[in-house]
């Protein structure tokens, strides 16, 4: 992949993934140039941030929602859902 294409992908990823954007800014803050950052970050880095960013957004949404109310929670947990555990325990007691 040529440098121009990689640079475009990185710029798109910076807008898409907040955790990647934060890491990119931190890299610049240590005195590196933009060109240095475009060279430094890889496509694998971007890929890794897809999952990190999803988790970050989930945490952020949870905190925003729960900071104001405890009565409703439209944000369903996927990684820690207790549905199967409850179903299993309920079944065992039948």
């Amino acid at each position: 992949m040529d440098f121009q294409s990689k640079m475009m992908l990185i710029e798109i990823a910076r807008r898409q993934y907040i955790t990647f954007e934060n890491e990119f800014r931190e890299y610049l803050a240590t005195g590196n140039s933009f060109n240095g950052a475009y060279n430094h970050f890889t496509l694998d880095d971007i890929e890794a941030h897809k999952e990190k960013s999803d988790l970050y957004n989930q945490l952020l949404a949870w905190e925003i929602k729960h900071a104001s109310t405890r009565d409703s929670s439209p944000i369903r947990l996927t990684t820690h859902s207790i549905v199967k555990n409850l179903e299993k325990l309920d079944g065992e007691l039948s």
């Binding site: 988790l55 989930q58 945490l59 949870w62 905190e63 729960h66 405890r70 009565d71 409703s72 929670s73 439209p74 369903r76 947990l77 990684t79 820690h80 859902s81 207790i82 549905v83 555990n85 409850l86 179903e87 325990l89 309920d90 007691l93 039948s94």
Partner: protein
């Protein structure tokens, strides 16, 4: 000796909710008295409520659906479950517990700290329940993690400077009878309950004492204390 259980659950799809019902199931033989549960039904997660309701009903709990309101757990306990308990019995021991940490996402730092905090308290109040000298009348309350902290503990005590941090404790029914409680005095009134009915010398502590805990929401504090006291950090419930 009769052992009663009152629990309060905020029915969200959250690991702390499963902890309450799984411990209620695990120790169903221990609780040989009155069993009462107050449930807050959260509309978007009504399926969780239905499942929790089903499990607790099968375990012999009288389940009461309550609205969430400003007095939180204290309001549900003092206005709903405690009067009902005292109608049915006048002797024995009461164990109180509630789902703790539903405010926090399990992956957040606060969520992890609260989860470990809950595990520690269940471990020292139920897994090791045989170590409590319940027959010894010198003691009015039994629990874990009595703390003394000038800053943090104030809202939880309203008097004696101690508390069973996290509202997992045993208390004698005779000390709850014929006593006036004013839960509107503080949203932490339930946390203060042990300190309202007994002096610190009448409280039996089992487990670590968090004298210098600045805040319970620090995972590092719990891990450090847990390791120091040999607490099995790995949670076998979730």
């Amino acid at each position: 000796m009769l052992k009663h259980h009152i629990c309060h659950i905020h029915c969200l799809d959250h690991p702390s909710v499963f902890k309450v019902v799984s411990y209620a199931s695990k120790y169903r033989a221990l609780f040989n008295g009155v069993k009462i549960a107050t449930l807050v039904k959260v509309t978007p997660e009504a399926d969780i409520y239905d499942r929790v309701y089903s499990i607790l009903t099968k375990l012999g709990y009288e389940v009461i659906t309550v609205q969430n309101y400003s007095l939180r757990e204290a309001g549900h306990f003092f206005n709903v479950s405690l009067p009902l308990l005292l109608e049915k019995t006048s002797e024995g021991l009461l164990y109180y517990s509630h789902s703790k940490g539903t405010l926090y996402h399990p992956d957040s730092e606060d969520g992890k700290a609260t989860s470990l905090w809950t595990d520690v308290l269940y471990h020292y109040t139920l897994d090791q329940v045989s170590k409590f000298p319940f027959e010894d009348k010198r003691y009015k309350t039994f629990g874990s993690c009595i703390i003394k902290s000038k800053n943090f503990l104030k809202p939880f005590t309203l008097g004696e400077e101690y508390s069973y941090l996290g509202t997992f404790f045993w208390i004698r029914i005779e000390d709850l009878k014929n006593k006036e409680f004013t839960p509107e005095a503080s949203v932490f009134y339930l946390e203060a309950l042990p300190g309202l009915v007994s002096k610190v010398t009448q409280a039996y502590n089992l487990g670590p004492i968090f004298y210098k805990l600045e805040s319970p929401y620090k995972l590092e504090s719990w891990q450090k204390k847990g390791i120091e006291y040999g607490f099995p950090i790995k949670n076998d419930v979730n």
